[in-house]
Point group: none
């Protein structure tokens, strides 16, 4: 018998779950104090929750593997991040609200500046403002002709970023990026990585060539660089797998995209993290599951700003009582990966997690931090089990087997 | 997308890694003191390293499974020890430097003494000296005729051990050993374990019969016993998988063999463990990855010599400062399996591991021992992830996914 857990034991009733994702939460000890960002932060509310919670550390992908935001969130949502690995183009297209269909190929675009010799001078075309981005996208829509029986769609994202979607028969997305990742080099040609992908490679290259003609009179944004090329396939949804009506409250397109990939609804974008928590309160009764995303920890970590990351964590801590007022049956607090300020990048280090519910085995002296979580009941475990644990704590799983 | 981690995210640049394998390191508590061999040993250098390291316990194969040296080392090297399980004959052939080709069948041989009735009197033929071993092998080379279109090669190993390689078409190595493992019994006949293996079984049996004729006038080594029969297949190498130029510094053929199986270079055999560390210093700049093997812990454990195993660990501890002088980016210290003196054999117990790098989350009161490692950040984890962790700590992995 083929059994997929926890789907097989979901019973469709039970409590409400709130998942708070502090992006890039995990850190590394400061050389002087020996404390990580989370350990150093004053988090009275999270520490109080920790004393009623199951604690542990989760491994987003595998030991030693630093995940991108896509795999990090898919794992949190209970989707094996290796099996369900997906290109960033698809997440971007979903993030801007494009209605992807099965088989569509989505591509992340950068507007870029090429010099007179056709070499990349600026990979971001001087970061054009969003309205300039929309004007450039409209120009591409008017000027670039579809090729080889394939429909093409351009969508604006933010600043220098846009999305291209190719829709047609037999588009196999095993093709290479064109972004050389450095200035002073020409954009790369699209290469098929398998025989079946030749058609997609030719179509994409001809669209990029067409775009270059259309943009040739632009002073800055005179070319496109393409990356994160992948096809969209239907994912089994949160509703199908877990019988959860789920809402994503996220302020960045990327995280809205990955939530939509698994069938979550999204709501209007709040203008602050406090606004996100207000949206949670507003929509609380309509959904069984709420995912709320907080970005600042990751940004400060990538800046190498230890103190800034500490403050970002403290700012989320201050919002916790507003969440508690809603009396969720289960509150999960964790990150999608670690972003230690000392490393200035996503890292492989396991991520602290607390699952607050009446069904934990807490320690009286618990706190929310890397070392305290090491001693927790959950140990170090793969992130793909987090949803199963949350469903169990919410009383949403039946017994497995007779 | 087909993803094999960590291979898919290796980026080919980064720091140097030194892997120190203390064979059979893990142990069990002494009945009186309650301390394992490693906990009882005075290891000031390893304890100091532990306070800057990620600690944990690795499971070489699966919980409850005691590994042989082959699987134990393959797991340490990042190769799934079940998928990449291999017969000892292949490791012995590689260990003596034989240039195995894809499809060659390798067999471990013991020179043995049969009595007048053809029963085994001594499974090791009185442990002949190495020069006697070489004379016997030369006699076999001259006297034993190839059969059935199959080329045969005899190679000396040490004392009573030699290697036989069969090279020909359609040699399927699913055949039984001939070593009865006890004295007073006749050598077993080679049996095919599948229809396809009948040819290999007949060839091997006829070679062993031929050898018995050739050796019939020998007073002690008058027969061969065959075991560890397996075919050689190309393994994806360390260079291919991890983009690491790797050197194995090991004094015993078995460990040199398993290192060669994954494409490591080997250097001249040192005459002491201090000599191995001197070889590490000599070749340090030429390689990205160094594997240094220390044998004595395992030997004393198999002897049931608790105190001897403690001393063997202390002797390696004394060499640690010489390794640190090289300033490797990552130092990994562990064993390939446990060999508790009380059990006198390889065991299934998870093995202490430390990964010293600037990117650990160490505990101020850490030490290197089974119980201290249980509280470490790595938890209990499968050994096949050790290489991924080492690569991550050395800055040699890119982010997985967008």
């Amino acid at each position: 018998m083929d059994v997929t857990l926890p789907d097989a034991v979901v019973d469709g009733t039970g409590g409400r779950i709130v998942l708070l994702v502090l992006d890039g939460l995990g850190g590394l000890p400061d050389a002087e104090t020996g404390l990580t960002e989370l350990e150093a932060a004053a988090t009275p509310n999270l520490d109080r929750l920790a004393r009623t919670a199951a604690l542990g550390l989760h491994q987003p992908v595998e030991p030693g593997i630093a995940p991108g935001s896509g795999p990090g969130h898919l794992a949190l949502f209970g989707y094996d991040p290796i099996r369900y690995n997906i290109g960033r183009g698809v997440l971007s297209a979903l993030g801007v609200g494009f209605d992807l269909r099965h088989g569509d190929v989505a591509v992340r675009l950068n507007f870029a500046t090429l010099d007179g010799e056709g070499k990349v001078r600026d990979r971001r075309a001087g970061r054009p403002p969003d309205e300039e981005n929309r004007r450039l996208v409209e120009k591409l829509r008017q000027g670039v002709q579809p090729r080889g029986g394939v429909e093409i769609f351009f969508e604006p994202e933010k600043e220098h970023r846009a999305v291209l979607v190719l829709r047609g028969e037999d588009l196999v997305p095993h093709v290479t990026d064109t972004d050389p990742q450095e200035t002073g080099l020409e954009p790369l040609r699209v290469q098929a990585r398998s025989t079946e992908a030749r058609h997609a490679a030719e179509v994409l290259q001809s669209v990029l060539d067409g775009a270059r003609k259309v943009l040739s009179d632009e002073p800055k944004a005179n070319a496109l660089l393409a990356r994160g090329i992948d096809a969209y396939h239907h994912y089994p949804s949160f509703e199908e797998r877990f019988e959860l009506r789920a809402l994503a409250i996220a302020r960045y397109p990327m995280y809205r995209g990955v939530a939509r990939l698994v069938g979550m609804d999204t709501c209007a974008i709040a203008d602050s993290d406090a606004g996100s928590v207000a949206a949670l309160a507003e929509h609380y009764a309509e959904y069984d599951f709420h995912f709320v995303h907080f970005k600042a920890m990751d940004s400060r970590g990538e800046d190498g700003d230890y103190a800034g990351k500490v403050k970002a964590i403290e700012a989320v801590d201050a919002l916790i009582p507003e969440v508690e007022k809603l009396e969720p049956d289960v509150i999960v607090v964790t990150g999608d990966h670690s972003t230690p300020a000392r490393l200035r990048s996503h890292s492989w280090h396991p991520v602290p997690i607390l699952i607050a519910s009446p069904w934990a085995r807490p320690a009286a002296d618990a706190a929310f931090g890397e070392r305290a979580c090491m001693r927790g009941e959950l140990g170090v475990f793969p992130a793909k089990h987090i949803m199963t644990l949350a469903l169990a704590h919410a009383g949403r799983l039946a017994k497995f087997g007779a």
